[in-house]
Symmetry: C2
Subunit: 231 residues, 2 copies
Amino acid sequence: MTSCETCVVRNRAICAGLDDREIATLNAIGRRRVVTAGESLIWEDDDSLLVANVIDGVLKLTTSTEDGREQIVGVAYPSDFIGRPFGQTSSASVVALTDARVCVFSRNDFDRFAREHPELEHKLLERTLAELDRTRSWMMLLGRKNASEKIATFLLEMSDRLAESGCTPAFGPAKRFSLPFSRQQVADVLGLTIETVSRQFTKLKNEGVVELPSRREVEILDRGALKALAG
Amino acid sequence: MTSCETCVVRNRAICAGLDDREIATLNAIGRRRVVTAGESLIWEDDDSLLVANVIDGVLKLTTSTEDGREQIVGVAYPSDFIGRPFGQTSSASVVALTDARVCVFSRNDFDRFAREHPELEHKLLERTLAELDRTRSWMMLLGRKNASEKIATFLLEMSDRLAESGCTPAFGPAKRFSLPFSRQQVADVLGLTIETVSRQFTKLKNEGVVELPSRREVEILDRGALKALAG
DNA sequence: ATGCCTTTTTGACATCCGTCAACGTCGTGC
DNA sequence: GCACGACGTTGACGGATGTCAAAAAGGCAT
């Protein structure tokens, strides 16, 4: 078992700030796990049995209606925390978008550990508050923006988020990046259909705002135009 | 100044569980404030200067685009916590929908107190996690439901939420209740226009699913039908 | 009660986006 | 290289919802 000492998100995840003894305890109750692209880690409405830290890879959080409509309600990147501590059921499924490595804990073990370590709970609180902020601004997008504003906002956000994870040598937003989403998944994030997403991408390409070297690759040619479109 | 001892939300808000000495400290840094219907308590993108507990009344959390489109991203009821601790700016405006009483703290004072009281931070964490769950299920509504599903879901949620606050003598969802929202505000919650909301209300009334005794009053005649419509 | 203003409802119309269907492209295994 | 299947693009079309306008209903002060 790989230990926390060599963990690449050690200083960014909620475990940052724990001392050696605490890390040892955490190490004892957690274990590494690989989730391959497309594989589920947590099921919506299931008993909330586990929580986890993302070490690398990208995962989606989704909710679905009975008739199969899906909405992606969150995306987890390295160092993000996933799962629902202190609750009986999780309100979203968690599925890997890329092959991913996570550090999983049984919810009970984690809850107990967290309650005994206020510093960790505080980090979790800060993270949850930030996630709530992001989620709320996404509600604005879902409720009030039209398709082209949605796509522009999405591309700008991806450019920021993927840069953070160190995909570009320098800081600042990534000019070129590889989407962890299929077209259908982009649609599920934005509350659109795959056809509308495709048409909007083509439109941006024709207008010279972006370049689309391959299905998953995006290069932003005119960030200003994108910002104007995002509204 | 009215003190915590007589506070009606004393045992439901995050201050529950604090001992007498702690309550005294909290009492010293907080103060009661009345917010009249329509009045703002917190402004979007402003420095996050204060946080508060809702004592009574209902408030909306909103985000807006530059061109004036508004989305209600949350609703705060008695015992709910509002504001953005541990952050420099708040991501939403908070405006009273009804006359309301709140217990406000300067963010700095609150942050300091919270960091010294893990039990309070834990309660805040639980509340924030629950709010995140609710927000995510609302994203499903905004992104994937049609107008009639939105309205049906909204009425069922209002019926549950308003019952909790003790508006009905017995437990369970309220059959009849008074909306704290104007038609425009309902539209801002659901990501619709006022006209669409009005037409959907009229449709439900004509189908005998609800009765609308006045602009703000709703009586649910056929909860089963509403649940079926909510999807 | 009357008048005035705000909110809501209703109608006519426009449009954005979803639906359905066909076609094109990419990746993979043989 | 070829065939296959998954994914993505494009086109034609329809309908749900937005827009604009006017009328109706309610609320409030005089």
